[in-house]
C-alpha cells in the first residue's frame, strides 16, 4: 500500500472501532455469520485479560520481590540480578508461549507462567538496585539504633527504595498487559482475540482491540503511580520536591 491514507479515512477508522465497542456489528466477512463486538463481548474479553494479567503480575511479584529484597539487603548476587534483567528482556514471548503450548498444552496456567517469566526481570533488577542504592548512612544509623535486619528492611530500605521498586513494578505490569494479547494463541480469549483474528472481527475489531489494550495499560500505569505516591515516605517526597525546585 503505497498511498498515504487520507486523514479523514484514519479518523473514520477510529469511529468504526468505537462503534465496534459500543454496539454489536454483523461480522464483516462471514455471509450469514453472527454478530461481533458490542459491550458484552468486549467486557468478557476485558475481564479475561485482567484475570490473566493480574495472575501473572502477582506470580511475578511473589517470585521476584522477596528474592531481590533479600539479595539487595545482603549485598550479594549483583551479577545474578543484572544478568536476569538483561536475559529476561531478550526472551521472545511468542516463542515462549508456542513452546509451552506445544509441550504442556493450552490453558490458563501456561499463559500465566509465560507472562510471569516476562514480568520477573524488571521487578527483580529494579528491586535489587533500589535496595542497594538506599543511602548507606541511613542504613548504618538504623543499625546503630538497634534495629534487627528485618526491621532495617521494613522500616528503612523498603520505604526509601519505593520509587525504584515501583518503576520495576510498573514496567512489568505494562509489559504483561501488552503481551497478554498473544494469550489468544494459547486458547485464552483476551482482548488479543480482536487483534489477532481479523478475519472474524474485521479491521474495526483490530483497532478496537488495540485501543482497549492501550487504555487498559494507561489505566493500570496511573493506578500504580497513585499507589507509589501513597507509599513514598513523606521525607523522600519532600526531598525530591526540593531538589526539583532547586
Amino acid at each position: 500500500m503505497s498511498e498515504l491514507l487520507p486523514v479523514a479515512d484514519v479518523i473514520s477508522s477510529f469511529g468504526d472501532a468505537f462503534d465496534f465497542i459500543v454496539s454489536p456489528q454483523p461480522s464483516p466477512f462471514a455471509a450469514g455469520g453472527g454478530e461481533v463486538g458490542g459491550p458484552a463481548e468486549v467486557l468478557d474479553k476485558l475481564v479475561e485479560h485482567l484475570k490473566i494479567s493480574g495472575a501473572s503480575f502477582a506470580l511475578a511479584v511473589v517470585v521476584a520481590l522477596p528474592v531481590a529484597v533479600w539479595l539487595g539487603h545482603r549485598g550479594r548476587g549483583e551479577g545474578f540480578a543484572i544478568a536476569i534483567g538483561n536475559a529476561g528482556r531478550a526472551i521472545p514471548e511468542l516463542a515462549l508461549i508456542a513452546f509451552t503450548v506445544a509441550f504442556i498444552g493450552l490453558g490458563f496456567a501456561n499463559v500465566v507462567f509465560a507472562l510471569a517469566v516476562l514480568g520477573i526481570p524488571p521487578i527483580l533488577t529494579n528491586t535489587f538496585v533500589g535496595i542497594r542504592q538506599v543511602n548507606r548512612d541511613a542504613v548504618e544509623a538504623a543499625r546503630g539504633m538497634g534495629m534487627t535486619g528485618w526491621e532495617v528492611v521494613r522500616r528503612v530500605e523498603l520505604p526509601l527504595a519505593v520509587p525504584t521498586i515501583f518503576t520495576g513494578l510498573r514496567t512489568a505490569a505494562i509489559n504483561i498487559i501488552a503481551t497478554a494479547t498473544i494469550a489468544t494463541l494459547a486458547g485464552q480469549t483476551t482482548l488479543g482475540d480482536f487483534i489477532i483474528n481479523r478475519n472474524v472481527f474485521g479491521d474495526e475489531g483490530v483497532l478496537a482491540g488495540a485501543m482497549l489494550v492501550a487504555a487498559l495499560a494507561i489505566a493500570v500505569e496511573l493506578t500504580l503511580a497513585g499507589i507509589q505516591r501513597a507509599l513514598t515516605p513523606r521525607g523522600l517526597r519532600l526531598e525530591r520536591a526540593t531538589s526539583a525546585a532547586a
Binding site: 462471514a30 455471509a31 455469520g33 453472527g34 498444552g105 493450552l106 489468544t184
Partner: protein, 324 residues
C-alpha cells in the same frame, strides 16, 4: 603435537564432519507407500507457458499445503514459472488474497464457498458434487473468479472426540450431545464461531450450547483432545489421523448440517486468460487420482509422519504417473 600436525588433524575432522552431513542430507527417505495404478497422463511441458508466472496459494492446514504443492509442481512440469504462497490463512483471508491479485488461485471446498462466501444455508448445499460445483461456479463467476472441475474426494467438518470420551458419554450423533454439551469444552478455529458449518451452526441449528469454546490454530485440533484441553474438537473427515488410528471418533451429523465439499481450484479470470488452456487442464488432470483414500494417506504422511508437503506432493505426482 606440532602446529602443523594440529592443523592437519583439525582439517581432517572438519572434512569428516562435512562428509557426514552431506551423506545425511543426500540420504533419501524412500517410503513410497501409495500404491495406486500409474494411470495418470504424464504432463508435458509446453513452451508457450514459459514466461507466464503463477502464484499458487492455499489455506492454513496440512491438506491445503499438500494440494497447493501438488498443483504448483504440476504447473511447473507444464512449463509455467510457479511461486507458492501457501498458508495464507482462513477462507476469508485466502479469498481476499485472490481478489486482490496476490495469488493466481487456491483450492477451496464447495461447502465452504457456498456457506461462508455466498450465504447458503447448510441444508441448501447440494449433496451432489456436480450440482455443488455448478452452483459454486455460478456464484464465483459473479465475482470474476473461475472455478475448475472438482476433485474426486470431498471433505467435511466433523465434531470429533477421543474414543474413550465417546464411550464415557455414550453419544453417537451430534444431536445426542443435547443436555450433555453444557459441560463440555469445544475447540475449533477462530473463524469457527462465525461459520454456519461450525460453532454457529451447532448453536443455531442443532441448538447446542457449550461450556466453553476455545479458539485454537487448526493445526492443534488433535493435540487439544490428546492433552485434554478440550472434550470436543472440530476435525476434518479427510484427516490422516482418523484413518490411521482408533483413538478418535467422529459424531454422526444426523441433521445433515455439516455439508461435505469437493475441492475446486479457484482462479482469477486474469490468471486464466494469461495462462492459456494448460492452466485448467493441468490442474483438472493432476487431481483426478485424489480419491478419499489417497488424500487421507497423503494427509497422514504430513500430519503424523511429519513429512514435508512438497515431498509428499512430489511422490504423489510421480507414483500416479503425472511426472517422471
Amino acid at each position: 603435537m606440532t602446529r602443523s600436525a594440529r592443523l592437519r588433524a583439525l582439517f581432517a575432522l572438519i572434512a569428516a564432519l562435512v562428509l557426514a552431513f552431506t551423506v545425511a542430507a543426500c540420504g533419501d527417505d524412500d517410503d513410497s507407500t501409495t500404491s495406486e495404478e500409474t494411470s495418470g497422463t504424464a504432463i508435458e511441458s509446453n513452451p508457450d507457458n514459459e514466461g507466464v508466472e503463477l502464484t499458487i496459494g492455499s489455506k492454513n492446514f496440512d491438506e491445503q499445503f499438500i494440494l497447493g504443492e501438488i498443483y504448483a509442481q504440476a504447473l511447473e512440469a507444464a512449463g509455467y514459472t510457479v511461486k507458492t504462497d501457501l498458508n495464507l490463512g482462513s477462507e476469508q483471508v485466502a479469498l481476499k488474497a485472490l481478489q486482490e491479485g496476490e495469488v493466481s488461485g487456491y483450492p477451496e471446498y464447495t461447502s465452504t464457498a457456498l456457506t461462508s462466501f455466498f450465504g447458503f444455508a447448510p441444508e441448501d448445499v447440494p449433496g451432489d458434487a456436480q450440482q455443488a460445483y455448478e452452483d459454486s461456479a455460478d456464484e464465483f463467476e459473479k465475482e470474476g473468479l473461475v472455478a475448475f472441475a472438482p476433485t474426486p474426494f470431498s471433505s467435511a467438518n466433523a465434531v470429533g472426540l477421543l474414543t474413550s470420551t465417546q464411550e464415557d458419554l455414550d453419544v453417537e450423533t451430534i444431536s445426542d450431545l443435547e443436555g450433555v454439551s453444557e459441560d463440555l469444552t469445544l475447540a475449533g478455529s477462530p473463524e469457527c464461531r462465525e461459520r454456519i458449518d461450525c460453532l454457529k451452526g451447532l448453536e443455531d441449528n442443532y441448538g447446542l450450547s457449550f461450556a466453553k469454546f476455545t479458539p485454537v490454530d487448526i493445526e492443534l485440533r488433535y493435540q487439544v483432545l490428546d492433552k485434554g484441553d478440550a472434550d470436543l474438537s472440530i476435525l476434518f473427515t479427510t484427516d490422516g489421523q482418523l484413518a490411521e488410528s482408533d483413538d478418535y471418533t467422529l459424531l454422526e451429523d444426523d441433521q445433515g448440517l455439516l455439508p461435505a465439499g469437493n475441492v475446486l481450484f479457484i482462479a482469477s479470470q486474469d490468471a486464466v486468460d494469461e495462462a492459456g488452456p494448460d492452466f485448467q487442464e493441468t490442474i483438472e488432470n493432476v487431481q483426478a487420482s485424489l480419491t478419499l483414500e489417497v488424500m487421507q494417506e497423503l494427509n497422514a504422511r504430513v500430519s503424523l509422519d511429519r513429512e514435508k508437503p512438497e515431498d509428499v506432493a512430489a511422490d504423489y505426482l510421480q507414483e500416479a504417473g503425472y511426472v517422471e
